[in-house]
């Protein structure tokens, strides 16, 4: 059961903590300068946002071709692999998110004297966690494209993901003001937390579902030459 998921988690059991450690050290060095408390909060938060989205994406994209090759050469069917893909996504994202959140809290404790920043918004954290799942799934898709089509796949995938992100940002920027305000209210008003969490979860599910559908198109004829 879940051979590929177990294999993935076990394979990267040191790689993920090592990445977290490196990020921790980089942030530590950057934060030891003469920063104001507000500056520190802003820096830790922005780094947290970046690493919760960029890191899962890159890591997922890099590990997917290896995982697929390994599973296929060791007698797994493509269908079995496809079925396990969401489990791999969830397991790796949770692994990275737990590490990232722990690191974030530790940085806050060291530099701000408290485990969470003053302006901590739970709904925003939910959005970021949902984004990390979405980006891991997108990374998986990019990795599959790379494995299937080589250089053209990697390039096309990166362009596609960048286009997708740009489209989402532009859609928000050019949305009517009431829509923008509703969105801001959803994530920043304390009494809307549950709705924000549900909206984030649904958004992540939609992305992961779309990726899973596209993954089958790529996986069903994928091969190891």
């Amino acid at each position: 059961m879940l051979k590929t998921t177990r294999f993935c988690l076990w394979s990267y059991r040191w790689a993920v903590p090592a990445m977290m450690g490196i990020i921790f050290l980089v942030m530590l060095i950057n934060l030891t300068g003469s920063r104001t408390r507000e500056g520190m909060t802003g820096y830790i938060s922005s780094m947290g946002i970046m690493y919760l989205t960029l890191l899962p994406f890159l890591f997922s994209a890099m590990q997917t071709p290896s995982t697929v090759r390994f599973a296929l050469t060791m007698g797994q069917t493509r269908r079995r692999l496809w079925v396990e893909m969401p489990c791999v996504t969830v397991a790796l994202t949770l692994f990275m998110d737990i590490g990232m959140c722990a690191m974030f809290a530790l940085q806050c404790r060291i530099f701000l004297g408290q485990w969470l920043p003053d302006a901590f918004v739970p709904a925003l954290l939910a959005l970021l966690v949902a984004a990390s799942f979405s980006f891991t799934a997108l990374g998986q898709l990019l990795g599959l494209l790379g494995h299937r089509f080589g250089g053209r796949g990697w390039l096309g995938g990166i362009v596609g993901v960048l286009a997708l992100i740009t489209a989402v940002v532009l859609a928000f920027v050019f949305a009517p003001l009431p829509v923008q305000m509703n969105f801001v209210r959803l994530f920043f008003e304390p009494n809307q937390t549950l709705a924000a969490v549900v909206a984030s979860a649904l958004g992540a599910l939609a992305v992961c579902g779309a990726v899973q559908g596209a993954s089958w198109l790529l996986l069903r004829r994928i091969c190891v030459k």
């Binding site: 294999f7 071709p65 290896s66 599973a71 050469t73 060791m74 007698g75 069917t77 091969c223």
Partner: protein, 300 residues
């Protein structure tokens, strides 16, 4: 153990180039096969298709009558231990030997960990080393351990002795025969080092230019070739009596001429009655070279 792995009318194209042309083969249970062919003959492509790791354009691959493609039951019985490439910077090469073997233990349902450990000891392999840091010979040992410890009823090894020194190669063939005596499972071994393995192969599959040129018992295959040498006129007489279609290659050494023939030494002997020629049997390597090599006259 009594299931036949069968490929029928397999055609495989890479882009516009056809690399396998109507390949038909039945892999019988309990036989050690040697798969031999020149570089680019399509050996690895065929093996990856037999194990459903690669796609094909036409034809079918079955195991015990059921399609191999996306068949978990069939794939659980097959292990294709691929050649590890020293230049690859991702995938298997990023793993330590012990991690690679542990991963194999997760995937292969018949995996024998104790046997894998014994083989690691036997080969003196450093399991803490990354695969990319191993020598070519050590990489071959890893693929051998993977194949043997998988205990798969159909075990396929692609170039298992590449890079191994002569002692290690001897040890591998010994190991193979020990395992075969014990388990009687099917082995398909693709190799370029033919002569050493000739005594191990029960059957040989000869591939040429993307097609199966011949599948035969090794002994009878080798016995169907002979080499006749002597004065040019005498050798020409022998060839004329046997027919030009039997001549595979002509070689000239000074005033002497030699021809490789696709007839047994005893048949050649009968044809050479009253002529002054020498007739000798050939080994598997020579038989293979005569069969797939250049046909024209060679002067030495």
């Amino acid at each position: 153990m009594s299931k036949v792995l069968s490929a029928q009318h397999i055609i495989k194209n890479y882009g516009k180039k056809q690399v396998l042309h109507d390949v038909n083969i039945d892999i019988e249970p309990g036989v050690i096969y040697g798969l031999i062919g020149r570089n680019g003959a399509g050996k690895t492509t065929l093996l990856s298709i037999l194990t459903a790791q690669n796609t094909w354009n036409e034809g079918s691959v079955t195991y015990g009558g059921a399609p191999v493609w996306e068949n978990e039951t069939a794939l659980a019985d097959i292990c294709f231990s691929r050649e590890l490439s020293p230049t690859m910077m991702f995938g298997e090469n990023t793993y330590k030997v012990r991690d690679y073997l542990k991963a194999a233990a997760t995937y292969y349902p018949h995996w024998d960990s104790a046997y894998a450990d014994r083989l690691v000891q036997r080969f003196g392999l450093e399991t803490k080393k990354k695969i990319s840091k191993l020598s070519k010979g050590m990489m071959s040992m890893v693929t051998i351990i993977l194949a043997m410890a998988s205990r798969a009823p159909i075990t396929i090894l692609d170039e298992p002795v590449a890079g191994l020194d002569v002692v290690a190669r001897e040890d591998f063939y010994k190991l193979l025969l020990e395992d075969y005596t014990e388990t009687h499972r099917t082995f398909i071994i693709s190799t370029h080092i033919i002569e050493e393995a000739a005594n191990v192969f029960e059957k040989v599959i000869i591939m040429k230019d993307g097609a199966i040129a011949e599948v035969a018992e090794t002994e009878s295959f080798v016995a169907s070739f002979s080499f006749v040498s002597g004065r040019e006129e005498d050798v020409a007489d022998v060839c004329a009596r046997l027919g030009a279609s039997k001549v595979l290659r002509t070689e000239h050494f000074g005033r002497q001429t030699g021809v490789a023939l696709r007839v047994s030494p005893s048949t050649a002997q009968q044809a050479a009655e009253g002529l002054s020629v020498d007739i000798s049997p050939v080994n598997l390597q020579k038989a293979f070279v005569y069969m797939v090599g250049e046909k024209e006259d060679i002067s030495c």
